[in-house]
């Protein structure tokens, strides 16, 4: 692609980064607000902004004999990595930063996020948090491969691992038409990595909040904001990889992209909150034994279509 200049090239590194962070936070806010509105079911919705302010006022508590260094590192890591995954999400037709392996970058950000959440569970030296950490490890391991194959399937059809190329390759036909399985698996696995909705076991009520059970003040803010920002990034990425990015009639590209992203958020939240928790000791086996082969089949179908010249 000739015009793969990045946002950093176009606007300068610092302004571009600030814009992307602002977009990431705004979308994270939207995700949290939607989630709470669905959960409140018509009742009053506690605003995420107010929550953030309250958490900033709150004292950071501690526990007996914590591994404080790793704990704080984990909390900060969740937020930083959620933002890092935004570096390759296209806004309009450009992303903040572009490498020849954007899709793998997104996946790697998730993997490091995985380690950071584990640290959040490990750090406070508390039983509920550690149990949440164990659960997240098992869950992350089981959903990592489906996520990777779902991402790769989109890259396969576009013939490039660059997100902007993937968006450009959908000029004729949105990828969701030929790879619906990859689309669904991508969103589900992203929800699992954000331990949200039916994949909430690492922070579930049955372990008293799990990895988040000992967090207060800034730490709690960082982790919950990181989760929301990451879910937002996944929704925006799903739009770029499977729903044609900013393509659409009448309206300008960025508006279309925003509309689609918010639609994906609404869909994800509504579908996710309809379901009860998928307990990991049952769901993980399905991930290994059913989901991975199904995604591989999806990739095979797409590969055959590529060879047949379907994607041009």
């Amino acid at each position: 692609m000739g015009e793969t200049a990045t946002l950093a090239d176009a606007w300068g590194a610092v302004p571009a980064a600030l814009v992307v962070v602002a977009v990431a936070l705004a979308l994270g806010w939207a995700v949290t607000a939607t989630d709470r509105a669905v959960l409140a079911g018509g009742g009053p919705v506690p605003g995420p902004g107010r929550d953030a302010a309250r958490l900033l006022l709150e004292q950071r508590r501690t526990t007996p004999a914590p591994d404080r260094l790793l704990w704080r590192l984990g909390c900060a890591g969740v937020a930083v990595l959620a933002l890092a995954s935004w570096a390759v999400v296209p806004l309009g037709s450009r992303s903040l930063w572009s490498t020849s392996a954007d899709l793998v970058w997104f996946n790697a950000a998730e993997a490091v996020l995985w380690a950071a959440v584990w640290l959040v569970g490990w750090g406070p030296n508390a039983f509920a948090a550690l149990t949440g950490g164990y659960r997240f490890l098992a869950q992350g391991l089981a959903y990592e491969l489906p996520l990777m194959f779902a991402l790769i399937t989109a890259g396969l059809a576009a013939g490039s691992l660059r997100t902007t190329d993937v968006v450009a390759a959908q000029a004729g036909l949105w990828f969701v038409v030929t790879m619906p399985v990859a689309f669904v698996v991508f969103l589900a696995a992203a929800a699992a990595f954000a331990f949200w909705g039916p994949f909430d076991a690492p922070a579930g009520t049955d372990v008293a909040g799990g990895v988040t059970s000992e967090l207060s003040g800034v730490d709690r803010l960082l982790v919950s904001a990181g989760r929301a920002v990451f879910l937002g990034a996944a929704a925006a990425m799903a739009v770029a990889l499977f729903l044609g990015g900013g393509a659409g009639p009448w309206l300008p590209g960025p508006v279309w992209q925003l509309v689609k992203t918010l639609a994906v958020v609404a869909l994800l939240v509504r579908a996710g909150r309809r379901l009860p928790l998928l307990r990991p000791d049952r769901a993980v086996e399905v991930a290994w034994v059913v989901v991975i082969p199904v995604v591989l089949l999806q990739a095979l179908v797409v590969a055959v279509l590529v060879l047949a010249g379907f994607y041009g």
Binding site: V38, L39, A40, G41, G43, P44, V45, P46, R50, A53, R54, L56, L57, E58, Q59, R60, R61, T62, T63, P64, A65, P124, N125, A126, F127, A128, A129, T131, Y134, R135, P198, D200, A201, G204, T205, D206, V207, A208, G209, T212, S213, E214, L215, S216, G217, R220, R273, R274, L275, P276, L277, L278, R279, D281, R282, A283
Partner: protein
């Protein structure tokens, strides 16, 4: 009113409330929860996420001691309030928020001093935590088979906490056994119930259930509302917050004086129980939970259905299990299953020690 004060007032306008309900204070808790839901104040699950600690009724001495420890784990700004039966709930909540805004409670101990350092940690009331820190009880398994050569840490203590010991496990690996106590204040569990457990990873290998205090003489609340309340808690532990919210709403509606609301609540309860009974996802997720592979007996899923029947008024609520039998069922269960099973069994309070045989 300067900007900081206003910002503070805005931020703390909807404080998170941790409700401690001693056995027998169910109707009072329902009134509080209804008011919280009406205002959109979140309910806190753990002391770390709490602004207002609201103690209902008259806790017994055991629970009161536990609440004192719980209080040390609540980060500032914070406020601790009591609410006696018959008091005005809305006024009490408003007063709590006002106190929180005024700077919270003056006796603000430094959590570092209370928790971070030293010896007294090990001496905390072992039943008095929320599952957040390790019990000081030594596991009584022998460490005879343990030979770690240069790094034997049997019996060692770090920061006043005992190190875990190893013990046999189902996979043939000598994994560490950790003694923890869950309760007496855990989200969606009967308050005052303590599970002292030995765990390997998240598998419970030894369990003992007890109540902190003798039960009070309490009037029996409406069985249908009680069933809806237990169902709400069970659904919460099962990780279905939207359904749990509907169960709470139906419960609150049934207690209303307005006949229209009662009718609507009955319809909501019917719709909810139909949804829960028919949910394939819930059935799939809970199948096998709380039931050993080859043994007959009611698993969590059967109990969910029993509570559903009771919630529509078609059947009496399932009887609470004796604590010893229930504790026996917990051994070998994954922690989540154990939590579900106790929530589903909803054991009734009995005098302390009466259940030990």
């Amino acid at each position: 009113m300067d900007l900081t004060t206003r910002l503070r007032a805005w931020a703390l306008a909807r404080p998170r409330v941790l409700v401690v309900d001693p056995p027998g204070s169910d109707p009072l808790r329902w009134a509080v929860e209804e008011e919280l839901d009406r205002r959109g104040w979140p309910r806190a699950a753990v002391p770390a996420g709490t602004d207002v600690l609201l103690v209902l009724g008259e806790p017994g001495p055991g629970l009161a001691a536990a609440v004192d420890v719980l209080w040390t784990q609540v980060p500032a700004p914070r406020h601790r309030a009591r609410l006696l039966a018959g008091a005005e709930v809305a006024a009490a909540l408003d007063a709590a928020r006002a106190a929180l805004l005024a700077g919270g409670d003056a006796d603000r101990p430094d959590p570092e001093a209370l928790l971070g350092s030293g010896e007294e940690d090990g001496d905390e009331d072992p039943g008095a935590d929320d599952g957040s820190d390790e019990d000081a009880d030594e596991p009584d398994g022998d460490h005879g088979g343990m030979d770690h050569g240069g790094m034997d840490h049997g019996g060692m203590e770090v920061a006043g906490l005992p190190m875990a010991q190893t013990g046999p496990d189902r996979d043939g690996l000598e994994l560490d056994v950790l003694a923890v106590s869950l309760g007496p204040v855990l989200p969606a569990w009967p308050t005052g119930l303590v599970l002292r457990a030995e765990v390997q990873g998240d598998v419970v290998t030894g369990a003992e259930l007890s109540w902190t205090d003798d039960p009070p003489q309490a009037a029996d609340p409406d069985p249908q509302r009680l069933a809806l309340d237990r169902l709400a808690r069970l659904l919460e532990v099962a990780g279905w917050p939207a359904a749990a919210r509907d169960a709470r709403r139906a419960r609150d509606g049934l207690g209303s004086a307005d006949p229209d609301r009662v009718v609507a609540a009955g319809a909501l309860a019917a719709a909810l129980t139909r949804r829960v009974r028919r949910s394939r996802t819930l059935a799939w997720s809970l199948r096998g939970a709380g039931r050993p592979a080859d043994e007959p007996g009611e698993g969590v899923l059967d109990l969910v259905r029993d509570w559903c029947a009771a919630a529509t008024g078609d059947a009496p609520p399932p009887a609470g299990a004796p604590l010893d039998a229930l504790a026996g069922r917990l051994e070998g269960a994954e922690l989540g299953s154990a939590r579900l099973l106790v929530a589903a069994r909803a054991p009734a309070p009995v005098p302390v020690g009466a259940d030990r045989g």
